[in-house]
Symmetry: C2
Subunit: 440 residues, 2 copies
Amino acid sequence: MMLNDSFDVVAEEKQVFNAALWLECAGPLVRLPTVGSHVVYFPQGHGEQVAASIQTEVELQIPSYPNLGPQLICQLHSMTLHADQENDEVYAQMMLQPVKKEQDINLELDFETQTMQSKLSFSKTLTPSDTSTHGGFSIPRRAAEKVFPPLDFTKQPPAQEIIARDLHNKNWPFRHIYRGQPRRHLLTTGWSVFISAKRLQAGDTVVFMRGENGEIYLGTRRQHNQLPATSLPLLTSDSMLIGLLAAAAMNKRFTIYYKPRASISAFVIPLAKYNKAIFQTQIYTGMRFRMELENEDSTTRNYTGTITGISDLDPIRWPNSHWRKLRVIWDESPARQRQLRLSMWEIGPISAPLLICHPLLSFSSKRPKLVQAPVQAGSGQAIGDEEEVESMIKKTSPFACGDEHLINGQNAHSSIVGSEQWMQFQQGSNSESLTVQLDN
Amino acid sequence: MMLNDSFDVVAEEKQVFNAALWLECAGPLVRLPTVGSHVVYFPQGHGEQVAASIQTEVELQIPSYPNLGPQLICQLHSMTLHADQENDEVYAQMMLQPVKKEQDINLELDFETQTMQSKLSFSKTLTPSDTSTHGGFSIPRRAAEKVFPPLDFTKQPPAQEIIARDLHNKNWPFRHIYRGQPRRHLLTTGWSVFISAKRLQAGDTVVFMRGENGEIYLGTRRQHNQLPATSLPLLTSDSMLIGLLAAAAMNKRFTIYYKPRASISAFVIPLAKYNKAIFQTQIYTGMRFRMELENEDSTTRNYTGTITGISDLDPIRWPNSHWRKLRVIWDESPARQRQLRLSMWEIGPISAPLLICHPLLSFSSKRPKLVQAPVQAGSGQAIGDEEEVESMIKKTSPFACGDEHLINGQNAHSSIVGSEQWMQFQQGSNSESLTVQLDN
DNA sequence: ATGTTGGCTAGAAGCCGACAA
DNA sequence: TTGTCGGCTTCTAGCCAACAT
């Protein structure tokens, strides 16, 4: 009862947006397109998010929407960032305005947010000791020194009160103390209240951030596998899929929700990134690639693999779609769920200089085949030759040759955006309704 | 972690269905149509449930579905009853098969379930003492004697262990003891675990039931106002509404979820009940009516009111719809949210013999006007004359005249169905896929 | 008949350094 | 540097009857 009241109050305040904290909670690999920029929306990927969220098999009879191709170019009209009331899961509400394909598009704004490199934040995956009722939270030394106010070490013991604010603008008080033999930083009083209120478990991650004026922010990120599979169905997945398709096919503004922790891949992609991947990147069966993935402990690492085929994921319903067009195998056994299907814009070239170059496949001996496909389905024909080379690759392994391919003389990976542009994202471009609040 | 594991196990078991417990948790006024029978489905009401569940204003641009009138006659092909994993909220999944209107329809099966009168169950709205950490649960004396096994009063004190099973087939052990001065029945050990696991608060209701073989069942029913407004949106309400309309308009089998605690009114109505209300009941402006409503403490009571107008709820989008066609005022100030719009099948005639008859309005002096409307929109014309008599009624008050109107010589209220027919519902009619399981 | 409260007690929560990885 | 544990203390949970309504 009291809990509800306090939430209600919070819900009514207009809240200061904290995009940085949202991104921290979303995970290290999540990027957001800029408001006002042009994006490519994939109803197919959107459907995958919906289906994954309600854990249902889809055996669907969709009416066809002739206006709706596998991808839809839109302008990101507005975006608001949110966090679920119950479990803090972050999601973004995006309003998309479909644009005519003929229209010439200014791509200047089409970059993604980048996490700030110099941010004053740290995240820690909780240990069993952190979450047990036996004690408090052990703060990594460097983390404490970076984000928390310095302690007065003349006191015995050195201690202070920390008040951290979460994505719902709720404040959580903690006692921060430096004690033990050897000395260490700890959060004691207040910690267990936080843990039980947020229902955190060992394996989940907490994020602490320091704002410009010294405020402390606090967010959570659940372990990936245990996302809560939205209970209480409102509609069948069939109805939902029909609804999202019909909404997109109407060629009017429509609104979608993007849940980065529930979705396997983003389904709203900056147009520039998409075009670069589709038109300016050499993709061919047998090609080596790399991709950054999130580990269990929410760090990231580059993984490598080989493209084994290029074909439609769903030839019946979504012919000539670029969504997850690539079939791949990975060099290492999968840590988390390792996708066997990827989209072209998700992968990058092997970055290191040529490592071990397999004699059978070199840049000169085998000319890579360009995959070029139309942006709008129907105005061309995508090349989807399914060359199964998995068996060959296995036979000729070790297969560690990487062809570095060039795109306009620079790396194919998306361009790096500095912190000034980040601020531009935060304050809005020329869009009149860049809503950057965070609601209840 | 452990919690999740145990839930997973439960989810995999095929569980014995307990329709009676489900109905208890749904509330005293909820009825379900029989599987195999014919029903009228109201997309408009369905949309209201969806909109209410996600707490969004609908400002919607729906494509029109010419095949879809405001009501759709279907056969209830199958129905499964469920309870939400998180908060035990009950919901029913119904598969509806649209039928041709020409088709002659056997109405024999078109009754609703009735709660069993002689059921061995009791429900109690929790007091602050019941939910505090200070103690246990005070069992009303008659309740304890009715549903729990008799205690051995030779022991000092008389006590036993009760194991009660909830809708997820999870067992909850309690210590049942008879003590105190004066003596009373209490549940002590185990009670607080249950309270905190279900996150029950004062004002919520628990239901205990005794099965035929002495098993004890246990369900919960949350206070109405605090239903959890489904967090984490998947789709906008617009998309959802489009989806549900498109699904219904396809004229194929479609599946809907009915959440009796979230919906203001049922939107799947037995065809017989609907026909009776539409074709065989006299409804007129100024008519007195009664309606049974649920109180805060989950008891029911008859409330009375007056019909002040008959008009389309949404003349633009749903012209000639019978959904909430009646405007009413109530005699008493509203206890819970008292609807000012009702559908014809929701109300009953004033049951008592003529009470105080207002001289201006009597059966003979003012001939009630029959409201007769087509079942399918388009094949006729509904009479929607908005006679605003509210002002008149207020002036001439006290206005307590009730015209008892007759329908085929019997009361207009839905017919009573005995417990044999209840069993028939439970075991299915001639449908091959009457699924009566309760999933995770 | 049953809701609330004070008294009492058992047990969990939670603070501490020791110790180990 | 930091995860876990045993020791100890504090406080809450929870059982009881008294008392009130």
